[in-house]
């Protein structure tokens, strides 16, 4: 393969490749995943993922995992409290702050402490390339997988089902009425994540310089994936079903034309 990948697989993956490392969502410390793993299930040469914003009780419980955690290769996290606890352990610290890493200024600041960071997927291809050019350490690009738009601490699906006395579900698909934009929601007891109904395909960024790894999330796939075969197709730009390029070609604005501003 031409590129290096960090992959969230559909199961504990035993096949090793020079160009692939694995990342596993840690049970009780993640939201938005269909598969999560106990710490002792996760291989020592793999990375551990903690993407919850942790309340005080949860982070105190997390502290008890530190001795085992120190034997893993690295950790990716959203909550800076996790960094504060793991910074002295011999493992790689990588910040995956979903929507906060949108400039080289921000990213280079985080790189004072972190071994690497994941660029937020909320910016354009040009912005990503500019950040890669300026970043002081190699960084990660989220290149394929569910595109997260919102993380709520609330159990939105359970609340919805209970209000209308419907069967309770942990996954759901909804469509916004005006724009007909579709979303996919996953909930667990720690909150709900809203994703795009389509899967991010960011292959337009493959082959860039200063990349620590391309991040790929296959957790949502229903069938087992042969990683090597899948990556061959991926790199050869074989069309993938139900994908979106997200914000890569969609520059957002934040000021409305004067006539549209509500006062």
């Amino acid at each position: 393969m031409k590129n290096k990948y960090l992959i969230i697989p559909t199961k504990i993956e035993t096949k090793k490749f020079d160009f692939v490392e694995y990342l596993y969502p840690l049970k009780s410390y993640c939201v938005g995943f269909l598969h999560e793993y106990e710490l002792d299930e996760i291989p020592e040469d793999a990375y551990v993922y903690v993407n919850r914003i942790l309340d005080t009780k949860s982070i105190e419980e997390f502290k008890s995992l530190l001795p085992s955690l120190s034997k893993k290769k690295g950790i990716l996290f959203e909550d800076l409290g996790v960094y504060e606890l793991t910074k002295d352990l011999k493992l790689q610290n990588i910040l995956w702050a979903s929507h906060a890493n949108c400039s080289s200024y921000t990213i280079n600041t985080y790189l004072k402490w972190m071994d690497s960071v994941v660029i937020s997927p909320d910016i354009t291809k040009e912005e990503s390339l500019e950040i890669l050019k300026k970043a002081k350490k190699p960084i990660l690009l989220y290149t394929y997988g569910p595109l997260p738009y919102m993380y709520s601490r609330r159990e939105l699906l359970t609340n919805f089902a209970r209000h209308f006395e419907l069967e309770e579900k942990r996954e759901y698909r909804v469509r916004e009425k005006t724009t007909t934009k579709g979303f996919y929601l996953i909930e667990n007891e720690y909150g709900t994540v809203v994703f795009d109904e389509k899967v991010l395909d960011g292959r337009t960024l493959l082959g860039s310089a200063n990349v620590f790894a391309y991040l790929i999330n296959l957790d949502w796939m229903e069938e087992e994936v042969n990683i090597e075969e899948w990556l061959k197709d991926f790199e050869s730009m074989k069309p993938l079903p139900n994908t979106t390029e997200g914000f890569l070609h969609q520059k957002t604005i934040y000021r409305l034309p004067p006539k549209e501003v509500e006062r």
């Binding site: 996790v82 209000h163 909804v174």
Partner: protein, 392 residues
């Protein structure tokens, strides 16, 4: 230190918020701040606001809380230096670059960490403390236990939201607006998609949160170490700000001097519930919100037209109030006057005179100047509202 902190979308609101009892206000500049589509403050307006506040021994905090994109950094350093020169009392910051920049460049600005940074545990708070942050605006998802433990472990000043709208998302963890309307939520363009409705196979889906209201827990929050009690709403009008701030001011003062009663709390709840256009609850303070803390089937919001008039002047000799009309009122209406120095009292409108001092029976033009004979002395900027209920 116990501080009541009010939102202010412009200079008029800043003055009303401070006049009605806020110890400090938070405002947004025209750049680097969320609520990009509020009027917001130019540098000269910030200076005027700070001077006004300081003359009244109060404080002004300026939000510099966008998440930067590559193009947004230009002008940031000179903007921060301007804020420092003006003498703002603190900046409220979210992006780590800005937090660290102020720290490393020794820009004389106190830094408060925005709720957009989602601090919910002591270790995250300690990370920011090491960068010179003196106050944390906690995530709105903080429970009583989180607040208590963070205070004990860090000794930092803690600021908590006590009233107003809630994001459905953990603040800062949402780009639904970006994808649905192309408006960047984390740079001030949020279109509040969490208040929209969605089609499903079963039923119309909604994820809208009811508002926050911490009236029953203010004393407990003081006891566990909260320093600053923050009201949401930089886009809100002066009647909302005046009513909410005066209600919390009265409550906090009574808690601090030990005269608070159950009736005071119940009355405060009634006033705030009437003033708001959505239901409100304590949300995360004592546990995870359930379906009862959300709205389903759309917004279910009601427009409030209780604000009838603003007192512009009072002639003590003629006992005549000069009132600027804000909503329809007529002879025979039973209303209330209230203000920071005016104990709320009931008044029945027997006579209305227009600007030419001619008797009229109705006031139905917004902004129209009217005169009302009122025996009780009123102050400039007192307000007249529809009377709905008595304090029991």
């Amino acid at each position: 230190m116990i501080e009541l902190l009010a939102p202010a979308g412009d200079l008029e609101k800043l003055k009303f918020a401070l006049h009605y009892g806020a110890d400090a206000v938070y405002i947004g500049g025209q750049n680097f701040s969320l609520r990009a589509n509020a009027k917001n403050f130019s540098i000269p307006e910030i200076k005027e606001g700070v001077e006004y506040a300081h003359e009244n021994h109060k404080k002004v905090y300026v939000t510099v809380n966008i998440i930067l994109h590559e193009e947004d950094e230009e002008g940031l350093i000179s903007y921060l230096k301007s804020l420092s020169e003006i003498g703002v009392d603190a900046v409220i910051v979210s992006d780590i670059y800005i937090v660290n920049l102020i720290h490393e460049m020794n820009i004389p600005l106190e830094v408060h960490l925005s709720t957009q940074a989602s601090v919910l545990n002591p270790y995250a708070a300690l990370f920011y403390k090491s960068l010179g942050v003196t106050r944390i605006v906690l995530a709105r998802e903080s429970s009583r236990e989180d607040i208590k433990k963070i205070k004990e472990a860090t000794g930092l000043e803690l600021e908590c939201f006590i009233h107003g709208a809630m994001c459905t998302s953990i603040s800062g963890r949402c780009v639904l607006s970006n994808v649905t309307t192309n408006r960047d939520a984390n740079r001030g363009g949020c279109a509040q998609i969490c208040r929209w409705t969605f089609d499903t196979d079963d039923q119309t889906f909604s994820m809208t949160s009811k508002d926050l209201n911490m009236i029953p827990y203010i004393k407990d929050m003081i006891d566990i170490g909260v320093n600053s009690f923050k009201v949401e709403g930089r886009m809100r009008g002066i009647y909302y700000i005046a009513t909410v701030i005066l209600t919390y001011r009265t409550l906090i003062d009574k808690i601090l001097d030990g005269t608070i009663t159950k009736e005071d709390t119940e009355y405060a709840l009634k006033i705030l519930n009437r003033c708001a256009n959505r239901d409100s609850t304590p949300q995360f303070y004592n546990g995870l919100p359930t379906e009862k803390e959300q709205y389903f089937l759309g917004r279910e919001e009601s427009s409030n037209q209780d604000f009838l008039g603003l007192v512009l002047d009072y002639d003590k000799e003629e006992k005549l109030a000069k009132v600027e009309q804000r909503n329809y009122f007529k002879v025979g209406d039973v209303v209330e006057f209230f203000g920071p120095q005016t104990e709320t009292f009931t008044y029945t409108i027997h006579t209305i005179k227009n600007e030419q001092k001619e008797s009229v029976s109705i006031a139905n033009h917004p902004g129209e100047i009217m005169y009302l004979p009122v025996d009780q002395i009123l102050d400039k900027f007192d307000m007249m509202r529809l009377k709905i209920f008595d304090k029991q």
